[in-house]
């Protein structure tokens, strides 16, 4: 039970139940759709950038607790970041989820997902929003985690 509690930390379930960044950025500069065939979930991420800096991010769509909370917290941490920083952050985050890597360099709001490491099947949920935004920033429309 203990690692299950670490997967569903209170901060995660809270953001899953009451996401702060659900909706659409309008007007937006980038839009991406992510799909996780495992959950059947679809996520639409809208972004507004100014030059290379992310000014606003929102997400929409149904998702599991992990993917919803991850999308919501991603939106929080990315505001003010450059596209390059976003990509580096995703690498760090991915490392947190998949390797026994040091979490020091990970923002506290993302570190709550370290429990995912014990649930390899859920890595795709935690990264769906990230794959989607990066795909959108790269100019592609769709992303999938399968």
């Amino acid at each position: 039970m203990s690692n299950l509690r670490e997967l569903y930390l209170e901060m995660v379930t809270d953001h899953a139940k009451n996401p702060r960044n659900r909706g659409k950025v309008d007007p937006c500069s980038h839009i991406g759709t992510g799909h996780n065939p495992l959950c059947g979930d679809k996520l639409v991420v809208t972004v507004l950038t100014n030059k290379d800096v992310i000014e606003d991010v929102k997400f929409d769509g149904e998702g599991c607790a992990i993917s919803t909370a991850s999308a919501d917290l991603m939106a929080e941490v990315l505001v003010g970041k450059t596209i390059k920083e976003t990509k580096i952050l995703f690498d760090t985050f991915h490392g947190l989820l998949t390797e026994d890597s040091n979490t020091d360099s990970v923002p506290r709001k993302l570190a709550v997902f370290s429990g995912v490491r014990e649930f390899p099947m859920r890595v795709k949920c935690a990264t769906l929003a990230w794959h989607t935004i990066i795909s959108a920033l790269d100019g592609n429309e769709g992303a999938t985690t399968e």
């Binding site: 065939p37 149904e62 998702g63 607790a65």
Partner: protein, 404 residues
């Protein structure tokens, strides 16, 4: 109810997931295997392993005999009128693709229609989409009702003189609806359509009589009826099989080969190119024997009892909605939990040792019909008990406590 002697037959069920007893409620995905099936496969490899047909040495003779006996066993169990009506394939998916490519593709053209239903598994949708693309035929879809049963009126409406082929699930994998396939096939015949029944979810759970259903083709999945993976059958009417061209080319499916002319072998060999899954067929033969020993009647009664009990337990949990409440239903319960996404439910239940499936169950159009992306699905087999269902109920409560 299930006696423990029955459960004892299944070695995989006697294990713990973490510190919890495994409760396997995912039999619609694949059934567990009785020891007799596992042993049949092992014995085959340890004693008789050889390539079949055309071999004169003892092992080859034994392997050939066992393989052809498996064909007879399946024919007997499922009511084929002769062993040659049974073609061994990888599973139900390949069986349906075989019909699509070897029967439908050369015969269909623009204007022709294929009729399926809203509750089909992707394996009974995509092969027909491919054929439609290849031939210009179009796909029609009969509607289902809110309780998950087929809307027969819609089915009748969709049938027309243009309907060349009708393919319906015997039992829905996603919600468990049992279709009146005899009636549907008779209706299809009345407009001259050829009929396919996707029996993947039927043959492990209830008595199936190919000749009585009177369909032209019946698709069987071995791994869903206690058999090994990688084996299944297409049962087809002998005369239809004879008329068909082969699908795959290779060893065993030809009588003579020259670069100028090649003569096909007889049915069923015409459709079994290359070395087949011999050990798989031998294991399936043992599965057929196992089913015979227990009896479809016992299996079915047992699963119906679990279904009734399962529905009552789940209905009693606040926020749980059951999808698919047809009268004639197999031991499958699809449900959603308010405030708990199926994927989270799957993880939390697994932690309690309860294995269910979550997602779209390879039936996306059906999900859409119910306005859902995904559901949880508990599916039963003869080795399940009411205690298993109690464990399911408890685990769902835990998930609710954790996430709602």
């Amino acid at each position: 109810m299930t006696d423990t002697a029955t459960v004892d037959n299944f070695p995989a069920l006697h294990q713990k997931i973490g510190d919890k007893k495994l409760v396997y409620l995912d039999s619609a995905a694949t059934t567990q295997k009785p020891q007799s099936v596992i042993d049949a496969v092992t014995n085959y490899y340890e004693l008789d392993n050889a390539n079949i047909h055309r071999g004169v040495h003892t092992l080859s003779q034994r392997a050939t005999k066992a393989y052809e006996q498996a064909r007879k066993d399946i024919a007997d169990l499922l009511g084929a009128s002769r062993a040659e009506e049974v073609i061994f394939v990888r599973g139900a998916t390949e069986a349906i693709n075989l019909v699509a490519q070897a029967w439908a593709r050369p015969r269909l053209c623009k204007g022709d229609e294929i009729l399926i239903t809203e509750m089909e598994h992707h394996s009974n949708i995509v092969p027909w989409q491919l054929v439609c693309e290849q031939t210009g035929a179009s796909l029609k879809v009969a509607k289902i009702k809110d309780d998950g049963s087929l809307d027969i009126d819609s089915f009748k409406e969709m049938l027309s003189q243009d309907t060349v082929l009708v393919s319906v699930a015997h039992v829905s994998n996603a919600i468990g609806t049992v279709n009146p396939v005899e009636e549907l096939c008779a209706l299809a015949k009345s407009v001259g359509a050829t009929t396919v029944v996707d029996g993947a979810q039927a043959t492990g759970h209830m008595h199936v009589d190919f000749s009585k259903i009177d369909c032209d083709f019946y698709a069987v999945s071995g791994h869903k009826m206690f058999g090994p993976t990688g084996i299944g059958c297409l049962i087809g009417k002998y005369t239809l099989l004879q008329e068909m061209e082969p699908w795959q080319g290779g060893g065993d499916m030809i009588l003579t080969v020259s670069f100028e002319e090649t003569v096909w072998n007889e049915v069923p060999f015409k459709f079994e190119a290359g070395t087949p899954n011999i050990a798989g067929a031998v294991g399936l033969s043992a599965a057929a024997q196992f089913i015979r020993k227990i009896g479809y009647k016992t299996i079915h009664a047992q699963e119906q009892e679990l279904l009734a009990y399962g529905r009552s337990v789940l209905e009693a949990i606040e926020g749980v909605t059951i999808i698919g409440t047809a009268k004639n239903n197999a031991g499958v319960i699809a449900f959603t939990i308010e405030g708990v996404h199926p994927h989270d439910a799957g993880t939390i239940l697994d932690h309690a040792g309860v294995a269910i499936r979550t997602g779209n169950h390879c039936a996306e159009p059906l999900m859409k019909r119910f306005g859902l992306h995904a559901t949880c699905r508990a599916s039963f087999s003869m080795y399940n008990t009411t205690q298993d269902i109690d464990a399911l109920g408890t685990a769902i409560q835990e998930a609710i406590t954790m996430l709602r």
